[in-house]
């Protein structure tokens, strides 16, 4: 037996760190994630916001629509932590109730856009050829329409209810997910294990959802996470413009309804805006952490 002449050591060998012990990938991912301080900060922040909006109302029981005190009460004055708005409604309780709605709509709309995006992207990437052509042209078509304008039209035409707003957001923002999914599918379908499964006459549906999709998940998860953030921003913009259900309190609506009075009560606008900012910030920090944990090769960037 002749061993190959292994004269040339790979360049990494010189400065290499000791090899990392093999662990379960999920566990390794979690370790990576929790070693990332900004990601953990994001997670803690998000948990705090969730506690505030979902547990807060149990403790602080004030109707956000009820006039409780003089309008434009400054934050901290007369026992109102965040003050009152132009109608004398308690902003603290509006923040709690509004947070529930903002996050629920954000999550639901993100789910809609992920389902559409993953489906379109997976079929385009898996089948290729004319299927890909048609689906990608379809995607491009949605990229050409200014999303906010389009969803404003949907909401205006079908009425401003929670359901239409959620649907209007989800249905216009799936294109990025579709693009990411498609490029992952294009890459993975050429890999050996897919070719092997394919030659073993596996059904298309099995290949798409059981073989390729699980391996395509990391970038989709990262994108999905960002979708939740941008759906929350989207909802806020719609309700700021007055295109949301007037009977449901949301952060964007607090800003929109108090906008004419910003010079009297800037806080009524600043506080909910800051809440949106913190929530989306927390989500995107988590997203960055997930991205780093799921793509260890890109860690250095």
């Amino acid at each position: 037996m002749t061993k190959p002449t292994e004269m040339i050591a790979p360049p990494e060998a010189i400065l290499a760190e000791p090899p990392i012990k093999a662990t379960h990938p999920l566990r390794e991912m979690a370790v990576m994630f929790f070693r990332n301080y900004t990601a953990v900060f994001g997670l803690v922040l998000l948990i705090a916001i969730l506690l505030f909006t979902f547990v807060g109302p149990l403790v602080y029981q004030t109707d956000p629509f009820e006039m409780v005190w003089a309008p434009f009460t400054r934050p901290g004055q007369d026992g109102y932590l965040f003050g009152t708005d132009y109608l004398g409604r308690d902003i603290l309780s509006a923040m709690m109730a509004g947070g529930q709605v903002s996050m629920a709509i954000g999550l639901a709309a993100a789910v809609i856009s992920i389902v559409i995006g993953v489906t379109v992207g997976a079929f385009a990437g898996y089948y290729g050829g004319w299927v890909e052509e048609v689906l990608m042209r379809f995607t491009e078509f949605f990229q050409v329409l200014p999303t906010l304008l389009f969803s404003m039209v949907i909401v205006a035409l079908f009425g401003a209810s929670l359901l239409t707003v959620t649907f209007a957001i989800g249905v216009v923002s799936w294109t990025a997910v579709a693009r990411v999914t498609r490029s992952e599918f294009l890459r993975i379908r050429e890999l050996e294990y897919v070719t092997a499964a394919r030659s073993g006459s596996a059904k298309d549906a099995y290949l798409i959802f059981r073989v390729i999709l699980p391996n395509a998940l990391p970038p989709i998860i990262v994108q999905a996470n960002l979708m939740v953030g941008s759906a929350i921003l989207f909802e806020a913009a719609l309700s700021f413009l007055g295109l949301s259900d007037p009977n449901v309190m949301s952060w964007g609506q607090v800003i929109g309804s108090n906008r004419p009075y910003i010079l009297d009560s800037g806080f009524a606008v600043a506080i909910p805006g800051f809440a949106i900012f913190l929530t989306v910030l927390a989500i995107s920090l988590i997203g960055d952490g997930l991205n780093d944990a799921l793509n260890p090769k890109l860690r250095q960037r």
């Binding site: 002749t2 002449t5 010189i14 400065l15």
Partner: protein
């Protein structure tokens, strides 16, 4: 040997890494005379390329730093020159070609522009004159239809063509020294031979000194006048090609030479296995007190683990750093 054109004297380069300080170059001394080809051989990571980068003043910093030593070109000290002064030396006095012709050319400029750029920088030439020189250089590196090719983008050329363009760039300002860092590693065998021939021809025409960095002992035997063998950041053996190849003193050099497979016109039915040097290059952060090659060396004695052997004359101008091989 005449007075050295370029001398590298006792140069130390350190890299700060997470794993600690890595001494990438450890008191390296080299010299090359006008019209001479100096070969530097060794395994990947032995400091060959870092020697080249330190001559060019291109040691990546941070984390790298030339800690001590001196590099002189025609008597002028290069270590410690300002960035602006170094920019004048690079390309004008010292040219360099790299081992990755596929990625070493800028994809968004034509090859003519890339050659002309250094002429414009160093000789204050007009754009027109610089482009004329670029075409002339493309002809010199034997690229057919040079005036057309000057307008081509790198992706329109083959690997061998691109390496010729790299040589044209490096030689455009007629530098005194050309550093060729594994110029043929990424190329096909036939193209390799062409590039070596080209380098040799150009050298005999212009008298440029060449530092040829390679791990190909065959290329060294064919092209170089003198050779330096490097291991783990140190020069372990240095001398004329004839003496070093025919009478290697350091066990590492011996290993390198015996590793080269020979072509035989009638190979025996049962072939002897190719010899190899056992073990791998040690991590530079983990070097001990002694000779870095000791763990892989068959002739190891107690002294090898205790202190680093100095580079000393063994036979005439032939220098070796080895306790066992010493005079």
């Amino acid at each position: 040997m005449s007075a050295p054109l370029l001398s590298v004297d006792d140069v130390v380069v350190d890299f700060k890494t997470r794993a600690g300080n890595a001494r990438v170059l450890d008191h390296v001394s080299l010299e090359v005379a006008s019209g001479e080809i100096l070969g530097i051989v060794g395994e990947s990571g032995c400091g060959k390329s870092m020697t080249a980068l330190s001559i060019m003043g291109l040691v990546p910093s941070p984390p790298g730093k030339v800690t001590s030593g001196s590099i002189r070109l025609e008597g002028r000290e290069l270590v410690g020159l300002s960035e602006a002064e170094l920019c004048e030396v690079r390309g004008r006095d010292i040219g360099m070609i790299f081992q990755e012709p596929m990625s070493s050319l800028n994809p968004v400029f034509t090859v003519g522009e890339q050659i002309a750029e250094s002429v414009r920088l160093h000789e204050n030439a007009s754009p027109k004159a610089a482009m004329a020189r670029a075409v002339e250089m493309l002809r010199a590196v034997e690229i057919p239809e040079a005036d057309l090719r000057a307008k081509a983008y790198p992706h329109q050329l083959s690997g061998g063509m691109r390496q010729r363009v790299m040589i044209a760039i490096a030689l455009a300002c007629r530098p005194r020294v050309l550093i060729a860092d594994e110029p043929t590693t990424a190329l096909d065998a036939t193209v390799q031979a062409q590039i070596f021939d080209l380098l040799q021809d150009l050298q005999s025409e212009t008298g440029t000194a060449i530092i040829l960095i390679t791990h190909d002992m065959g290329a060294i035997a064919e092209l170089a006048d003198r050779v330096a063998v490097m291991y783990a950041g140190r020069v372990v053996e240095k001398g004329t090609v004839d003496t070093v190849l025919s009478d290697p003193q350091h066990p590492y050099t011996k290993g390198l030479i015996t590793c080269v497979p020979h072509l035989e016109p009638e190979p025996p039915l049962v072939r002897a296995p190719l010899p190899e040097i056992p073990g791998v290059v040690p991590a530079l952060t983990e070097l001990g007190m002694g000779c870095a090659f000791a763990p892989r060396c068959g002739n190891r004695i107690a002294q090898c683990g205790e202190a680093k052997p100095p580079l000393e004359a063994t036979v005439g101008p032939h220098l070796t750093a080895c306790w066992v091989a010493g005079p």
